[in-house]
């Protein structure tokens, strides 16, 4: 990704991680999950439109986040390999997330009727997303992404625990947790960088 010595590689990794500890994307992903979860609970058959809406909304969010960050921490441009890596991560995660949403209902309808609801569409989607987050946590070395993966895994069992046939509870619960963590990160970030940078 960068340079030739382990110390400089570690410095680059730390520098990169520090610029992604603001919590904005966490809140965006968490809110998206809450919205999709609530939609599934209220209107179980409305899926594609919500997913598309989320996918469309992400670009202005990333642009706004950049301005929000730079106003407080200053401007930095990472090396081309790092930027390319980041684009691939975001694109792959978005495609997988959207794909899982679209495949949830068809995959859920394939399960035999005598299997418990624990493998319903919403549990399946949540566990697939959890697997993606686990992979992301390894690639990005962001500990909180691993925590999100564990939260999603646990939330996937909720429909079985509360014996409900309403879709959306795992996403709703997971999303709420991620929003809470992201909000705390944003608060910490704003406090830490309370004076907008000047030069």
């Amino acid at each position: 990704m960068v340079t030739n010595s382990p110390e400089l590689k570690e410095l680059e990794q730390r520098t990169y991680k520090a610029t992604h500890s603001d919590g904005v994307i966490d809140v965006f992903v968490g809110v998206s999950m809450v919205v999709i979860g609530v939609t599934w609970i209220v209107i179980p058959n409305v899926l594609s439109g919500v997913t598309a809406g989320v996918a469309i909304a992400i670009s202005p969010i990333l642009a706004w986040r950049r301005r929000f960050i730079e106003a407080r921490t200053g401007y930095v441009m990472f090396t081309e390999p790092r930027r390319l890596w980041e684009r691939r991560i975001y694109t792959t995660a978005a495609v997988l997330f959207g794909g899982f949403m679209l495949l949830a209902r068809p995959l859920g309808s394939l399960q035999p009727e005598d299997i418990d609801w624990i493998m319903g569409p919403d549990s399946l989607v949540v566990w697939l997303v959890a697997a993606v987050l686990l992979l992301l946590s390894v690639l990005t070395k962001l500990t909180r992404v691993l925590v999100y993966s564990l939260v999603l895994t646990a939330a996937g069992a909720v429909p079985f625990m509360i014996a409900t046939e309403a879709f959306g509870w795992p996403l709703l619960i997971s999303g709420a947790v991620i929003v809470a963590v992201g909000s705390a990160l944003i608060r910490r970030f704003v406090i830490r960088h309370s004076q907008i940078g000047t030069q």
Binding site: V2, T3, N4, S5, E7, L8, L11, E12, T15, R67, E70, T73, G74, Y75, V76, M77, F78, T79, E80, H193, G197, T198, Q199
Partner: protein, 88 residues
């Protein structure tokens, strides 16, 4: 300079936050690095606010690499620390 080595470019505010230096100290250090041609500077505007961007030059990259090698050579005879000799 190490921070500039691991990124393509960064502005004054970012470097000051990364290093913890005051604005005056940053100005002084960066001026010397620019004079020595280790760092290139570009003054521009972003959202109607002045922005000073720094990039490491090839001379600066070479200097960092040579410095790293010299430090490595200096510490090599010491080797890794023996845990039994380490104070807690």
């Amino acid at each position: 300079m190490a921070t500039l080595y691991v990124v393509d470019e960064a502005d004054f505010v970012y470097l000051a936050q990364q290093t913890g230096l005051t604005a005056g100290n940053m100005n002084s250090h960066m001026a010397r690095l620019v004079d020595g041609e280790y760092v290139a500077v570009e003054k521009t505007f972003a959202a109607n606010r002045p922005r000073t961007i720094y990039r490491l030059t090839e001379k600066g990259r070479t200097a960092i690499q040579e410095y790293g090698q010299q430090v490595g050579n200096l510490l090599a005879p010491i080797g890794t620390p023996n845990p039994s000799n380490t104070r807690t």
